[in-house]
Amino acid sequence: MNSPHPRAARASSAEESGGDASAAELSSAELVALRDRQPAVLERFYRLYFERVFGYVRRLVRDEHTAEDLTQDIFMHLHRALPAYDPSRALRPWVFTIATNKVRDFWSSRGFQERSRTGSTDDHAERHFESPAPGRGPRELLEAGELSLAVQSAVDRLPEGLRQTLLLRYFEGLSFADIGRVLERNEVAVRKRYSRALEELRESLGELDPALARTPEQEP
């Protein structure tokens, strides 16, 4: 059976944690209130965006402590920048632009450069996380029936630029144009990055069991 898209799953999660089940994003009125930093809307914004921002950052940096530091920095920046936010503009690209800039600043920092194995912020640099299953690649994990770990391993192996594009497009549903603004690339380049990300996932995972893609109605 097809799993719900991660964004749909977040809407359910928001409902479980007391959020508005009918809206996975803030309404126009709430966006105005957000700019004015009204506490109730700040709380709703935090509930909607914390896991998404933390998850995005955590999948891009090496360790949880750094992800926490960056996430804190991002939310503090958001709080300070809210008075300048234009409610007529989409919120999600704005949030992820700030998050992406903070991650980029971290990658550019002298401390990170000294710690990095490659010492480069090049998009093709291969900086991998500690594997979820050390010593086993995505194919081995697939063969062992550990699909979730295999997918995680494959995503973690993507170069940072491709991983960013994949996360913003597939998990946040940003348009290629918006991703271009976030990553400071043109739309064509972003489309190419997304294609390359999918190609590399395919190379890591191989052809997957078609049963994965069946909807419940298609089950025999």
Binding site: E51, H79, T97, P134, L198
Partner: protein, 294 residues
């Protein structure tokens, strides 16, 4: 890929890969971190200040055509400005606050009295060493950081970059005590305070470092501070699964949270100790919090 740009990314993704991506395990943050950050974000608003300039979010447009001569003149002007700026180094904007009295404070051996606060502030460049002797000193670095230096404190201003660079501020406390409060424009700056025993790395927080003959105590009042033995890598090097494990103790990179402290002994064979923050170590922070009000 279809080339479409719909709101549903599944239309751009092969069905089996989409189904696989849907199986990606969720990432969960520590519950206490999530709760603490929520409290700071929602319940304790940061003092209102002009946010730092946001990066451009304007639509990408093709640059206008320019004549070759105009391009040459523009490049020459930019080069001239760059030379001018290079010859005009950044001078940090320090202010000596009037809260703590002192008779003499020395900067690189040169003595300043309390009435010479402006001259003292002007002398605070990268690389200088401040000694408070019997007195105490309160400093503010524009809207980024406020410091309280207790008696018998020696503090070196290793590196204080200009705000636009986004680089880390580096201070080195050689003795005494230093209390730190970050300000409205701290976000994105980064600060590390080194002592003989510990590096305290800051992300928007309030904390105090007190140096003793036995070691260094880091007390945190607000936010969290990551404290490591001096010279330790923040992130452990990736483990090669083919190597035999050794007996090197794991680096404890946990954060010191609000109301807690961490004492790192100078004798490295003694493990770090955690406990409640000492009220007398945090006392200077009460006054420093008002450093942004003038």
């Amino acid at each position: 890929m279809t080339g479409q740009d719909s709101s549903d990314p599944r239309l751009d993704t092969p069905a089996d890969l989409a189904a696989a991506l849907d199986r990606l395990p969720p990432v969960r943050a520590r519950a206490e971190f999530q709760a603490e950050l929520q409290r700071r974000f929602v319940d304790a608003p940061i003092p209102v200040a002009e946010p730092p300039p946001a990066r451009s979010f304007a639509p990408i447009e093709a640059p206008p055509r320019r004549s070759r001569w105009l391009q040459i003149v523009t490049i020459a002007a930019a080069a001239g400005i760059a030379v001018l700026l290079w010859r005009w180094p950044y001078a940090p904007n320090w202010t000596v606050l009037g809260g703590s009295r002192f008779e003499h404070v020395t900067v690189d051996g040169k003595s300043f009295t309390f009435d010479q606060r402006e001259e003292l502030a002007a002398a605070l460049h990268d690389g200088v060493e401040i000694e408070t002797g019997e007195g105490q000193l309160d400093l503010r670095l524009d809207q980024r950081v406020a410091l309280h230096l207790g008696p018998q404190t020696t503090l070196m201003l290793v590196r204080v970059p200009e705000p636009a660079m986004g680089a880390e501020i580096t201070l080195e406390a050689k003795s005494g005590s230093v209390a730190v409060v970050t300000g409205p424009e701290f976000a994105g700056a980064g600060l590390v305070v080194r002592s003989p025993d510990a590096d305290a790395r800051v992300v928007g927080t309030e904390f105090a470092i007190d140096i003793f003959s036995e070691g260094t105590c880091v007390c945190c009042a607000e936010g969290h501070v990551r404290v490591l033995p001096v010279g330790t890598e923040l992130t452990p090097a990736p483990v090669d699964p083919t190597e035999e494990p050794d007996d090197t103790p794991a680096v404890d990179a946990r954060a010191v949270g609000p109301g807690r402290n961490n004492f790192l002994y100078r004798d490295r064979s003694m493990p770090a100790e955690e406990g409640e923050a000492a009220s007398d170590h945090l006392a200077p922070l009460q006054w420093l919090r008002g450093a942004w009000n003038d």
